[in-house]
């Protein structure tokens, strides 16, 4: 058991981390809240003044906010749906015995390690280019008209890129979970004559419910603030077609120099992320006991 001596030592050792994280969390957050109550244009320094909740009213009633919120939800929802559904299927596949399993596994998880700016540009230029991209070639070969991805389906293009990046994460976690599915359980089901579909729905899916929740929560936190992929491909456009909340705040802050408005937007983003985080922290906390 911890003695008084080790307890004191423990506190001293934990203190720097706690202090740093506390500062890292609280200082910028307080500043954001403070800025969000000011009229503050970066290009007109010295004209800051308190305007209360006006920035929030302005930000929340701005049509761009509604559009970007809808885009954020569309992006998060679609990527989650794609990665979870395909992730479950891939995990089931990789859980089987076949030749070259470890190599296929390496190929499947590789996209996760590619930096976002690289994935986005490779997809945009080498694959989705309307004239010289591989997709255009496939479409033409099959007798279809090539799609001009970023002009015709900008949001879908971004969704595909982000889903490709996160698919390995979902697959790997679900695979890890599947591998912990008891062999006895599998055999019992087999001996009871459970059909493959019943086996999948009653045993596999119920076993995966928890890891799927984890995947959904963690990915949601990251997907709410997808930025680099949009930054290097569409710059939020055409129009506002691919502007999500993170990109809207960025453009208000560093392109339009509206510190007050961007800060109000930042607080809105923090509140949204926190709603998800509460569930995630609870889930992880349960596991700690």
């Amino acid at each position: 058991m911890a003695t008084q001596h080790t307890r004191t030592l423990g506190k001293i050792l934990v203190a720097p981390s706690v202090a740093l994280l506390f500062l890292w969390m609280i200082v910028p957050l307080v500043m954001t809240i403070y800025f969000s109550t000011l009229r503050y244009q970066l290009l007109n320094p010295g004209t800051e003044r308190f305007i209360g909740v006006e920035n929030y009213i302005y930000f929340l009633t701005d049509p761009a906010f509604i559009t970007s919120l809808a885009n954020t939800l569309r992006l998060v929802g679609s990527v989650l749906a794609i990665t979870v559904v395909i992730g479950v299927l891939l995990a089931l596949l990789l859980d089987q015995v076949f030749i070259g399993r470890s190599v296929v596994r390496l190929m499947v998880i590789a996209p996760f390690f590619v930096m976002p700016t690289v994935s986005a540009l490779v997809w945009k230029n080498l694959l989705m280019h309307p004239v010289s991209g591989v997709f255009a070639w496939v479409a033409t070969s099959l007798g279809f008209k090539p799609i001009d991805w970023f002009a015709q389906l900008p949001m879908l293009s971004v969704i595909l890129i982000v889903a490709w990046q996160w698919l390995p994460f979902a697959t790997l976690i679900l695979l890890t979970a599947l591998q912990s599915l008891d062999n006895d359980q599998k055999e019992a089901a087999e001996m009871d004559g459970t059909g493959p579909f019943a086996f999948f729905f009653y045993i596999v899916l119920s076993h995966l419910a928890r890891p799927i929740t984890v995947v959904v929560l963690i990915q949601t936190i990251f997907l709410l603030t997808v930025f680099a992929e949009i930054f290097v491909t569409t710059g939020g456009g055409p129009g506002l077609a691919t502007t999500n909340l993170a990109f809207l705040i960025y453009s208000q802050a560093l392109l339009q120099y509206d510190v007050g408005g961007a800060s109000a937007g930042g607080i809105v983003a923090v509140v949204l992320a926190n709603i998800v985080a509460i569930f995630l922290v609870r889930l992880i906390g349960k596991n700690l006991e």
């Binding site: 890292w24 800025f35 596949l93 705040i249 998800v276």
Partner: protein, 276 residues
């Protein structure tokens, strides 16, 4: 009891799995292939898969651009620097929480984790202004400090879960022998904890290497790591696919290898132990 697996089934699964793996890996494969083409062949329609004139000229050109090595160095300095500094802060904390837990340890850990869930964009404005006022914009130091703080919760968390697995009996035995805390850490704990520490460094270097929010927003040229350097190829005058591919291949190759080595730790590090 061994399960009977028919040959036909194994063959079918092998084929399906390889096709799936190939499709997912294809963008990376295609990028690597394109990096060995001439700019002209990189655009050619129909695309050339293997029968093209293989060349290393793109790699030579990318290397020659005097600033390329500087960007590589920035990436290395930022990724390793931020992780090593956060390790220095995190190891004592994780050690204390794992081996001398108090009733508040669980709460502290969860609170630390929750700081990771703050969206970066929410604090973009103040960080940008602070960095501007302190002259930290476009400096390696600025990014190292920032990513170190952003990494800290995951680093502490991973170390904690690894330390937690060390049987307490070993420590108690050595404490009975009367060795002090410092020697306990160096001679007893460190050898057992080393694999966990190495995995933690590995995964966090990967995450820091690929970090693309702060690196894009807080650097312009001098301190720009590879993420930001590659982003400069998105401008219209930068439509050089073969060179983009060569630069990208170089940028991701080392980290891809590290990533493959650390796939087990990935699950553990990124789910905070919620999936085992």
């Amino acid at each position: 009891m061994a399960r009977r697996v028919s040959v036909a089934r194994t063959v079918a699964i092998t084929v399906v799995a390889w096709i799936a793996g190939f499709i997912i890996f294809f963008p990376i494969l295609w990028m690597v292939l394109t990096s060995f083409k001439t700019e002209l062949e990189a655009f050619s329609m129909p695309p050339k898969f293997l029968l093209f004139k293989w060349t290393l000229e793109n790699y030579a050109i990318v290397q020659e651009r005097s600033d390329y090595i500087a960007h590589v160095w920035n990436s290395v300095a930022i990724a390793f620097g931020s992780v090593l500094v956060s390790m220095l802060i995190a190891i004592p904390a994780a050690w204390a929480m794992a081996f001398a837990p108090t009733e508040r340890t669980r709460g502290t850990l969860l609170w630390m984790l929750s700081t990771k869930m703050m969206p970066s964009v929410g604090v973009l404005v103040p960080i940008y202004l602070i960095y501007r006022d302190f002259g930290l914009l476009d400096t390696r130091l600025g990014l190292i400090a920032l990513l170190c703080l952003a990494d800290l919760p995951i680093v502490i968390w991973m170390l904690y879960t690894y330390f937690k697995e060390i049987p307490i009996g070993i420590l108690e035995a050595s404490r009975m022998d009367g060795i002090g805390p410092l020697r306990e850490v160096i001679f007893v704990l460190a050898p057992i904890a080393l694999p966990g520490i190495a995995s933690t460094i590995l995964l966090n270097v990967i995450l820091a290497w690929n970090e693309a929010f702060w690196t894009l927003n807080l650097t312009t040229s001098k301190a720009a790591p590879l993420t930001a350097f590659i982003a400069s190829y998105s401008s219209p005058e930068g439509l050089f696919w073969a060179k983009l591919s060569a630069a990208s291949t170089l940028a991701i190759a080392p980290i891809l290898v590290l990533g493959w080595l650390s796939q087990r730790q990935l699950v553990r590090g990124l789910t905070f132990g919620a999936v085992k």
